[in-house]
């Protein structure tokens, strides 16, 4: 049983890697680099917390 499960595991892994790589290229070609890397640390804290006690 385990041998069959592992062989299926190899196939599933190959499919998932193919999907992730495809999605990666699709996203990178759809969106600009500025948008993808626009995340900034502390955005919410800066907007909501003034640290006044």
């Amino acid at each position: 049983m385990w041998i069959t499960v592992v062989n299926i595991g190899w196939a599933v892994s190959a499919l998932l890697v193919a999907w992730m790589v495809y999605d990666w290229f699709r996203i990178d070609s759809t969106y600009s680099e500025a948008t993808l890397t626009s995340s900034r640390e502390g955005e919410i804290e800066a907007a909501s917390e003034k640290h006044k006690l």
Binding site: W2, I3, G9, S13, D23, W24, I27, E41, G42, H51
Partner: protein, 467 residues
């Protein structure tokens, strides 16, 4: 002119990590990463110092990690950013410390992920029988790492929902095993009095207890990983302390139950040798149902740990990219799934390569060493944090009690653990310290020129004391 600049800035759509997690997810991340340590690893402390040493270490290292959890909860409920201890180090100590801490995090979690994948492959191989070749062994490793990476790629909410379910099942399995062996009736199944006697309780004396610190870390290694979720929890000030402290309480109970079951069923020579103390305990009860339950629970615990490690390593790597400590390319967030997808994909082949070439002992030791370096930093970090921003100057989600006692306890226990690691793995300890020194030189003399120095400090805090 000003209008044009405004239009240009608003034209770039902002994509950030998604705030969707609650305290239960924080618990699932922390306990999920750690629980595998009850299923394997802690028991090697018995090999170093005997069964009683494993119990002493369970509680002493419990003290170390309670200090870690308290300190972490205070700082992270204030510095709520992905990267966890990395972001703390950056704001409180400085960039070079932060770079090192991020490396500790990435190596500790990636090596722990590798250890978990190897453990699952070893466990399945032990039960698979004839015909299970190296191809199948590697197939298990590849499946574990790739499927969990895909889950992490797809979204943090689903990833930690899965972790919550499988961690809860693996924890319940320990509780079920505990009650199945009738702990209220010594002699029926459990034989603690026969297994642990005054003659064999500490076979190497107190130096054995010191040596056991190395593997005692495994009882709780990774609970500090809860802080990596800081940027994705809905209420960091509430969820992080609550989830982390609840996780620590869960683990202290789980570790004590695990020791009691295993110490009452196995002599110390075997307990310190086996890779599967809880699975073996299930076998020794003579119940096929309990053995099957512990087999499944071992695999689930390792899966939960690997899953949490992928989550945490990717966030630490992502944070380094966001501050340009590494190429900014790594700081991309998936616009649909809102995950650090490039960091997840980059670390995937690295984990696979280590899992195919490293052995379990090396991977675990690499992970432990990186963890201890990080805890040493935390003891210094909290002292500086309280000096620079005393109580009352900034809002804290949680304030840990008895300061500076937890920091001092943490530092002393870290020093003892270095000594313990040096006793068994002196060459690895030295090699690793040399590695971090080389990386620090690279960062200081080469990489730091690319960092936008003003942009990296993001917390809206008042000026620190003394500046």
């Amino acid at each position: 002119m000003a209008k044009a600049a405004q239009a240009s800035s608003s034209a770039v759509q902002r994509v950030s990590l998604l705030r969707v997690l609650g305290p239960a997810h924080v618990w699932a991340l922390g306990v999920g990463i750690v629980l595998v340590g009850e299923y394997t690893g802690w028991n090697f402390a018995a090999d170093k110092g005997g069964t009683l040493a494993a119990l002493i270490i369970c509680w002493v290292i419990g003290l170390l990690y309670t200090s870690v959890a308290m300190i972490d909860s205070e700082v992270t409920s204030t510095v709520a950013a992905a990267g966890g201890q990395y972001a703390q180090a950056k704001h409180i100590v400085g960039p070079l410390m932060a770079f090192n801490v991020a490396l500790y995090l990435v190596f500790a979690y990636t090596m722990l992920e590798v250890s978990n994948a190897i453990l699952i492959a070893d466990t399945i191989k032990a039960y698979a029988g004839e015909g299970f070749t190296d191809w199948h062994y590697r197939g298990v490793i590849a499946t574990v790492i790739v499927v969990l990476a895909a889950l992490n790629y797809r979204g943090v909410l689903m990833t930690l929902n899965v972790n919550f379910v499988i961690t809860a099942i693996a924890y319940l399995a320990i509780i079920v095993l505990f009650f199945s062996v009738q702990p209220w009736s010594q002699g029926a199944v459990l034989k603690l009095g026969e297994m642990v006697t005054p003659e064999n309780a500490l076979p190497y004396g107190w130096i054995g207890v010191i040596a056991a610190f190395h593997w005692g870390i495994w009882y709780y290694l990774g609970i500090e990983g809860t802080t990596q979720a800081a940027e994705e929890v809905r209420s960091p000030a509430r969820s992080l302390p609550y989830g982390t402290m609840a996780g620590m309480i869960t683990l202290l109970i789980g570790a004590s139950l695990t020791w009691y079951i295993c110490a009452s069923l196995m002599p110390w020579q075997y307990l310190g040798f086996t890779y599967y103390p809880l699975l073996d305990a299930g076998k020794l009860t003579g119940s096929a149902a309990l053995e099957t339950m512990m087999f499944v629970a071992t695999i689930l615990a390792a899966l939960a740990s690997a899953n949490g490690c992928i989550n945490d390593a990717a966030r630490a790597w992502f944070s380094l990219g966001r501050d340009r400590y590494l190429p900014q390319w790594f700081s991309a967030v998936h616009p649909r799934y809102r995950t650090p997808y490039r960091s997840i994909l980059f670390l995937l082949p690295i984990a696979l390569a280590f899992a195919f070439i490293a052995n379990l002992g090396q991977a675990i030791t690499f992970s432990i060493l990186s963890g201890i370096l990080q805890y040493t930093f935390m003891s210094i970090n909290i002292i500086k944090f309280r000096q620079k921003w005393p109580l009352g100057t900034i809002r804290r989600g949680y304030t840990h009690p008895f300061h500076p006692l937890p920091a001092i306890v943490l530092f002393i226990l870290c020093v003892v653990t270095y000594f313990a690691i040096f006793l068994g793995y002196g060459a690895q300890l030295t090699a690793m310290v040399v590695f971090y020194i080389v990386m620090s030189l690279w960062f200081h003399f080469y990489r730091y020129r690319y960092v936008r120095r003003g942009d990296q400090f993001t917390m809206p805090w008042p000026k620190p004391n003394g500046y």
